[in-house]
């Protein structure tokens, strides 16, 4: 997972390098992004992360019922992220913007899509651990596995903590 974080750091570095070369294009293109989508997703992921924290706490006490509840909420918030992201893609593409429009949009679609795939993967892990929570929550193996899923989900959250300002906010006001 740390390797994954380093890869994203390299992507951010490449983005900033390209932004330096074509600042005007990046600033102008950024204005067409609606930061409300990104802002909503930021709050969604922060809340989902919090639900996973609560799920892990419940698992540590052996409460399968509460673990399921919090993982269910985390998953539903992940679903909300997906719906919001797809709505944003639809809104962007139907307004004539595609990954081929210019370098900013190439990066925008690439970065957000890769992050989106991480969200999908995280949701799959959460769904699995929710499905076995009632039977297994009291076991050390389950708790350790869920803690690792939590680390991955928080990593997805941390990525968006930087992706949101990088794409939607930084340089928005000259």
């Amino acid at each position: 997972m740390f390797i994954d974080m380093v890869i994203f750091q390299m992507i951010f570095l490449t983005f900033m390098g390209e932004r330096l070369r074509r600042t005007a294009v990046f600033v102008q293109s950024q204005q067409h992004l609606n930061e409300a989508f990104g802002f909503a997703n930021a709050l969604i992921l922060l809340t989902s992360s919090w639900m996973v924290v609560l799920a892990i706490r419940a698992a540590r006490t052996g409460s399968g019922k509460n673990t399921r509840r919090y993982l269910g909420l985390a998953w539903l918030l992940g679903l909300a992220f997906c719906v919001n992201k797809l709505a944003e893609y639809y809104h962007t593409i139907t307004s004539g913007i595609t990954p081929a429009s210019n370098p900013f949009y190439s990066y925008y679609f690439f970065i957000t899509f890769i992050h989106f795939m991480h969200v999908i993967a995280g949701m799959m892990f959460i769904a699995y651990f929710r499905s076995v929570a009632r039977a297994s929550a009291a076991t050390k193996r389950y708790v350790t596995g869920l803690e690792n899923v939590g680390l991955f989900w928080h990593f997805v959250d941390v990525l968006w903590i930087f992706i949101f300002p990088l794409l939607y906010l930084v340089g928005r006001v000259a």
Binding site: Q9, L46, S49, V158, I161, F162, P165, R172
Partner: protein, 85 residues
């Protein structure tokens, strides 16, 4: 509560981005806020303090490198920091 503070900092970031009065400083502050939020998630949600010490160092270094990359890159683009080439 950590979650509440994280959400509040997110709202502050968006407000700064919309505040034309702060001009270029807003972007640097926004990235600093992101770095603080990231640190809060790493410490309080990921519980890095419970892990082997080197993980804390690695995550802190990653956080610092990302924030520095974004801030310096932005400041170069507005001419506050000289470009490399």
């Amino acid at each position: 509560m950590i979650w509440g503070l994280l959400c509040a900092l997110t709202v502050v970031s968006v407000s700064l981005a919309e505040n034309a009065g702060l001009r270029g400083y807003a972007s640097a502050i926004i990235v600093l806020i992101a770095s603080i939020k990231s640190r809060m998630v790493i410490v309080h949600f990921m519980e890095v303090g419970q892990a082997a010490k080197h993980w804390g160092v690695l995550y802190a270094a990653w956080n610092a490198v990302v924030a520095t990359t974004l801030i310096i890159g932005y400041l170069m683009s507005v001419g506050v920091v000289p470009r490399l080439s």
